[in-house]
Symmetry: C2
Subunit: 229 residues, 2 copies
């Protein structure tokens, strides 16, 4: 059955890398000798060789990315969509590039290059059954919530889950959710889906499935790759 | 002025290491060739050479720890207090070992060996002025909250802070808070202080100030030590 369902991955590269202390956007930084984004695409192809990947990039970065692909002889097939002002706009552009309102789509941060095949498959399989699946982890730290006066109060961390990507959805349902969403303040796709009345299905995420957000994460990344090999 | 204020550190080693896939409690695992707990104590002595350290250990581990200190020729002075059933009980025992109701105390997880001198000093200094200080970081992931039916909803992550240690307090005030607290369900000292009517002062934590909770964290730890050197 599942072979017949078309699987897409929208890989969203939004950031300009301003927080990296580097003029190179984070998705292009070298991790184990190869740009981060190539690792990320490879993860999806490893999990589903037949996946159709759409990489969403700021327009100004597309030529640079094409050059990187030539330089690194990166031949995994993928489409490119042009990014928007916000992450919300970028995902919307990625969804617009899908050929039909059928199948399942994984929406993933370009700077999360460590999602395992198991995790990607678990999310896609679950979304095939329940129309969506979102990986998340329990919270190991104590958490406080700040009110409008800057005063904080303890929160019950047992109830909290830290959300990751790939966030997977029925194509028809997530396209509808994005079409109907008002505002572009959403921090992830699950919240867009939820705003359209959907109930999110959480599944276990992975501790190693981190975002590359600072130079230290690149060092950490080498370690993760060693451990996964 | 601040030289005259007595500074204490209560370093709490609660866990038995069951999550490590190892029979050695986490605080005794070797990090860069030395037990984690020795790193942690050293951090406080580096920040404040005159600090008085109280290490809280399960009774069954005290002899082993003394042997480790001999084997590793660890000569930094510290007192030992006997741990209780819960973290709450252990901290209470640590507070009972303080000689007077004056000064400032930093309460710290034994398995957080990477707090920098700057962070420790910033927390202690702030607590000298405002009776408490707790390090915390913003939340980089999207966060969901689960209700009693297992259904999750997005939470505004802008308002959340992930709490770390050292959590620093006026000795008199935190002793009072522990004496008056009912129940031992608290996940940290800030929440005990808050339950007694105190308002918590948050200051910037450090990304590297992680807890050692799994074998991967030890590898990560080597990297953090290299970077800090």
């Amino acid at each position: 059955m599942s072979e017949e369902v078309k699987i897409y991955a929208i890989i969203v590269a939004g950031g300009s890398g301003k927080r990296m202390g580097s003029s190179i956007p984070k998705q292009f930084l070298l991790l184990d000798g190869k740009p981060v984004l190539m690792h990320t695409i490879s993860r999806f192809v490893a999990a589903y060789p037949e996946v159709e990947c759409i990489v969403v990039l700021p327009e100004s970065q597309i030529e640079f990315w094409r050059k990187l692909c030539r330089d690194y002889q990166f031949t995994l097939k993928h489409h490119i969509a042009i990014g928007g002002e916000t992450r919300f706009d970028s995902v919307k552009n990625g969804l617009a590039a899908l050929p039909a309102l059928a199948g399942v789509v994984a929406i993933h941060d370009a700077v999360r290059p460590f999602a395992s095949s198991q995790l990607i498959r678990a999310c896609i399989s679950q979304a095939q059954h329940s129309a969506n699946a979102v990986p998340a982890l329990p919270c190991v730290d104590s958490v406080r919530e700040i009110d409008e006066h800057g005063v904080s109060k303890i929160v019950n961390r047992e109830k909290l889950r830290m959300v990751q990507t790939p966030q997977c959805f029925s194509v028809a349902q997530i396209v509808e959710a994005y079409a109907k969403a008002s505002g572009s303040h959403f921090t992830d796709d699950a919240s867009v889906y939820e705003a359209n009345g959907g109930t999110i299905i959480l599944i276990d995420g992975e501790a190693h499935n981190i975002k590359i957000t600072n130079p230290f994460d690149l060092e950490l990344g080498k370690l993760i790759i060693q451990q996964q090999e």
